[in-house]
Symmetry: C2
Subunit: 723 residues, 2 copies
């Protein structure tokens, strides 16, 4: 894989890279994602048109997102030899992804006997019209050759957990092929349309040096979207250049607001843009009915579900670059409140306990048994679903951060205040009061470090809940002053007498005499071993370290940043020396067994003068989908795909870490910590509806605003900045 | 094995029975126990003189009770052939235990070439003088034979977890051999003395038909007991018949107060007496410095430690037959309060958290890892030690039951009130208050059913704690009215302001609409499978069903009576229909993987008209040490030996179940439910210092008292009984 400016490129075909390239060369437009496979591939090569927000369950297997029929399937034959990289002789091969436009192309020259036959294909999922999948495909040869083209909407798709639809109609209407399907569980309709600008039914004879090219435009619609969709599709201007132009124009706009320019470090520049590319490719743009899956739109891994990853790792990017997208993501949570309340009831609590793995309804797709014991092959009881309660605080954090960054509090009236209240009421019900200590505690939880289940007073969790209850207090105050009708109606329905006491008496673990914050009650008493020791104890590679009997369970080894994650999120509340003490204490125990871990260590490292470590962790985070250097298995479970949380994490590390951006509701500060190799860094931030263009050159910071700045306060190195 | 009146008997020697007979033929006097092995055996045959209350730790292995040198070791040779059942030709063999007197005898005829040589031996551990081990050993032959005798205090003893002493002195003083030793860990001295009434140093020639016999009296002393012990031992009248006479006289006294006579069912009669025999053989008679180990004095299994078994299963027998023994057992707990307070501190609690496995100091001998994972051979984190909190309530129960049954409250002044307070303060600190429910709950506990760890609101545990806090309220009230000085001093030291509120607001799970009490929060939601199904899922026989990933953990399968145990203990508080509903609900899920289980089901069965079941469970309990039909392994851990809790359980089932004895502080009721086959049942009960002789003949109950009955109230079938 080469990286060239805005492109990644393969110069040869390696069968062993097919799976990984499916993720590396992904394209997407928020409505759907298409894996970076080649046109002639089928389900064995994990081809997938992964649909955002469309879920299905086959029998009693787990629910997962649906892969729709493949609109980009093309198989070509030259003199009856199949032009397939898997079987034919290859003279040369290129696969390219242009991340400036989400444009995938390939160029392969095959040797068919003594003829060289060349295939070129270029494809994109339109950013201008999210239903369209567009491909231009051409064949040429250096001798006279008979070409056959086999292309259709391939409904024999890859699916992890069983088929998800049946075909209900397959017809041709004028020049459009129509394929109608229905999901198995909820009978949700999908309609796919195919238009090809050439006759490809019959063999085509081409002369030496001639090229045969065709364009295929497919329309993909599901759910309510199918209404009048055929008419809509018919009216689309199907000219390839026109479609590409409007697609590029949309991408230009996206990059204008979200690009980060780095001078002096091409590696970092590319990795950062590649991360931003992924975030922009997978975020839902026109709906609040779905979240961002933990593996983006790269397939069905993790069931296509959304995790805390969205709020804690990705939302900062969206809130600071395109608030409308962030608002949609918050509305997705408000819209799934009922599911969260059902989940709370299931575990005998009141309020809202958000899904650990959230699909379209907010019911939890997470199983109580989501690891397989590698020794016995039995499902292992884990406590992700029932004990990872911080998710409800993360959701409140997402909403309140949106309000803080955007200055837009309208969501409180659109169900946001109710959502906050229900989340906090859940925590109040979940919490226990300890009379001898006169405080509320949170017991039997799982924090970010999933290797220690059912712990008491996980510092991260308690602190997140404290943030959330403080946010509720602020939101009630805001509503009282600015939304009197909402406030009155709210008080008629809800008892808030407990809120202040809960906020005041919730226990937050504090630094000890060495300034270290204990990850949870009793953590310091666990066996003190490091990573080489735990690895030497493994009986089977990839055996799961957590759960009831895992190797890490009784030791200090942690899966990912936990206290350090907390210090990252609440960076303005802890001193440099506390950050340093905890970073140094926990780092040797941290496996980084999750792609969510490295960026937290990276950001905190920038703040404690550990530039080398910061850069190392930043690069690890930013290149995760380029190198493919991540955990591919937990026990027997495949968990590959793209890593949007890491993509968000690399933006966070760049902006909050190196850019040194921090903020309270009142003020945005920029105190840069550029890595040595970065000569300059330029990016835009949307702060309280003002778009700031920030240029950092060493210690010099230059900011311009796109509108009057009377309502905002910005400081540089903590000193007020005059525009 | 034959059962003959008061005897069990083997009529042949089976090598495969050696281990089991070591437990079956056990003798003991409370100071020490001696396994039912043959005189020529050594450590490979698990010979053990197991010392009550003497513990040692070898290096970093677990602490366990100490096996002292073997005073009964005798090896005889006939014409240089060793007379050993393991190697020689056996003509006939008998091993007999007379449970009326704890008298072990064997009679073996060997074929030595064409000579028949006979060994007879009879031995006992003196009930009259607990330091004495006495044996009479004789050899005869049908032809002239040269006999050699090899006997000494054999210090090469069996030990599970390493050696526990070194020999410090080995001398001969006049006619007494002296062997002095010291334990490794705490340098506790042991002195053993040996007196043999014949010269056995040199070969002895016997004529055909003649018998050579000798008597050996050994003295065993340890700790403070060694002071002047040689002089004491010298002064002992070492005549065998005299020693046997005083021994028998003491046993006669014991049986007079504790026997139960059953007419019409010889099987049950014997099993019941056998159970009573064991209880009387292992209870400490002259000290409160040790408890009763879970495997009695049959060896070192379970580390020689005392569990809740004592209070919940054995104490009823002692409190109703010999209150002084019961008082010692309670004082043992008072004496180990400091250890319990250390344990509470270790887990960051105040008050007293009694040891799950208690040795002499009350520090917990239980490990946080006390099962080995059979799949990985790794130690498995279990929660017996840190979560089986009911132990502190069980200890309070023992004390308060002693007071109730004996009418003797003097222990409150001897540290009993402090002990109660510290136990309850521990629970108050452990408990959590749930404001929305306005109640205290007990979370993350392990109940009697150890297959479900860290559960919330285990009905048994909550109810026991409720009993304990109510007992504290009553004890404070008693002290206020009867022990004003104690009460005043107590109030100066202790805050009791929380006690009433805790007693009132502690949550006790109640029967649901089907009258079933949920074993713990969420139990009903667990997978509903039965025993055949769980067994079919085993991958390895004896794999442990509990712990983090055990087969039972996520199902309704329980190890032993839990709710039914509660209904048994609090039998006067629950209706017959609640008992029936719970018995029928839980019985199919119960493995009876502990010898503590069957008796609880048996007793409750008597109360709900399920006579067949009651009898079945009674016999299972009462014969457990006769049949040896118990779990011998958990994972790889050997757990064989005698089962004092089951011995107590069979007395409980006989007296409380069939005898129908129940009581409150005010009244003792007898409402018999004799099994069909039992024509009559006679037993004595010590109630508030009045010894009642109770004869049940079908529905007819006859009671006589050994002193005026003005202060007690007795009812029969709930109707007041006039003496």
């Amino acid at each position: 894989m080469e990286k060239l400016g805005w492109k990644i490129k393969e110069n040869e075909f390696l069968k062993s890279d097919v799976e990984q390239n499916g993720s590396r060369y992904l394209i997407g437009n928020g409505y759907m994602g298409y894996r970076g496979t080649l046109e002639e591939f089928g389900k064995e090569q994990l081809v997938a048109l992964n649909m955002a927000g469309l879920f299905d369950r086959n029998g009693d297997k787990w629910r997962e997102s649906v892969n729709a029929p493949n609109p980009f399937f093309v198989k070509a034959f030259a003199n009856d030899t199949e032009l397939n990289v898997l079987t034919a002789n290859i003279d040369s091969h290129e696969q390219v992804l242009d991340i400036s436009y989400g444009l995938h192309s390939r160029n392969t020259v095959f040797c068919v006997n003594d003829t060289k036959v060349s295939i070129k294909a270029e494809r994109f999922l339109s950013m201008a019209n999210e239903n369209l999948a567009v491909i231009k495909y051409s064949v040429s040869a250096d001798k006279d050759t008979e070409i056959k083209i086999n292309t259709y909407l391939d409904s024999d798709v890859w699916s992890i957990n069983g088929d998800h639809f049946e075909v209900t109609e397959q017809t041709k209407q004028d020049d459009i092929s129509v394929l109608k399907l229905m999901t198995l569980e909820n009978k949700i309709p999908l309609s796919l349309y195919e238009y090809i600008n050439q006759d490809v039914e019959n063999p085509i004879k081409i002369k030496a040096g001639e090229t045969f090219a065709f364009v295929k435009v497919s329309g993909v619609y599901w759910g309510e979207g199918i209404l009048n969709s055929l008419d809509t599709f018919k009216q689309v201007n199907k000219d390839y250049d026109a479609l590409l132009k409007e697609h590029k124009s949309k991408w230009n706009e996206i990059w204008y607001n979200s690009d980060i320019e780095v001078e002096g470090d091409n590696e970092a520049q590319f990795a950062l843009r590649y991360s931003i590319y992924h975030l922009n490719s997978i975020v839902p743009r026109n709906t609040y009915k779905c979240g961002i899956p933990a593996r983006g739109l790269s397939g069905q891994v993790y069931k296509g579900a959304s995790f805390w990853d969205t709020e804690m790792f990705m939302m900062p990017f969206f809130s600071f670059t395109d608030a409308s997208l962030c608002k949609n993501l918050v509305k997705y949570r408000i819209n799934t409140l009922a599911g969260a309340m059902r989940k709370a009831k299931e575990f005998d609590f009141d309020g809202a306990f958000y899904a650990w793995e959230s699909q379209e309804t907010g019911d939890d797709a997470c199983s109580l048994f989501n690891v397989t014991d590698i020794f016995t092959k039995r499902p292992m009881r884990t406590h992700f679903k029932d004990s990872q309660i911080h998710i409800s605080a993360d959701v409140v954090y997402g909403l309140w951060q949106y309000c803080t960054v955007s200055g837009d509090y309208s969501l409180l009236e659109e169900g946001g205040l109710d959502m906050m209240y229900q989340c906090l009421f859940f925590f109040y019900d979940y919490a226990v009061y300890k009379p001898l200590k006169n405080r509320y505690e949170l017991h039997s939880v799982v924090g970010p470090d999933e290797y220690h289940e059912r712990v008491n007073n996980n510092a991260f969790t308690n602190k997140m809940v404290k943030y959330a209850v403080d946010a509720l207090v602020s939101a009630l105050d805001y509503a009282k002053n600015n939304m009197p009708q909402l406030y009155e109606e709210f008080l008629l329905k809800n008892d808030i007498s407990w809120v202040d006491e809960f906020a005041q008496k919730l226990y937050i673990p504090q630094p000890n005499e060495n300034e270290v914050i204990e990850q949870f009650d009793g953590y310091f008493k666990l066996e003190d071993i490091g990573l080489p020791e735990i690895r030497s104890r493994e009986l089977i590679p990839h055996e799961y370290w957590g759960g009831g009997n895992g190797l890490a369970t009784t030791t200090r080894i942690i899966k990912q940043a936990d206290v350090v994650m907390m210090l990252n999120i609440f960076r303005s509340e802890y001193s440099k020396s506390v950050k340093k003490a905890n970073w140094e204490f926990y780092e040797p125990y941290t496996e980084h067994g999750s792609s969510l871990s490295a960026c937290a260590y990276g950001i905190v490292a920038t703040e404690i003068g550990m530039a080398d470590w910061a850069y190392k962790y930043f690069m690890k985070t930013a290149t995760v989908d380029l190198t493919g250097d991540t955990k591919q298995y937990v026990g027997d479970l495949y968990i590959g795909g793209t890593h949007p949380a890491a993509n968000g994490g690399s933006w966070n590390t760049a902006v909050f870490g190196f850019g040194g951006v921090s903020y309270t509701n009142e003020v945005l500060d920029i105190t840069p910590n550029l890595p040595e190799s970065w000569k300059s860094m330029k990016f835009k931030l949307l702060w309280k509806d003002v778009r700031l263009d920030i240029a950092i050159n060493g210690d010099d910071v230059k900011i311009t605003a796109d509108k009057p700045t009377d309502n905002i306060k910005v400081t540089v190195n903590k000193k007020e900045y005059k525009f």
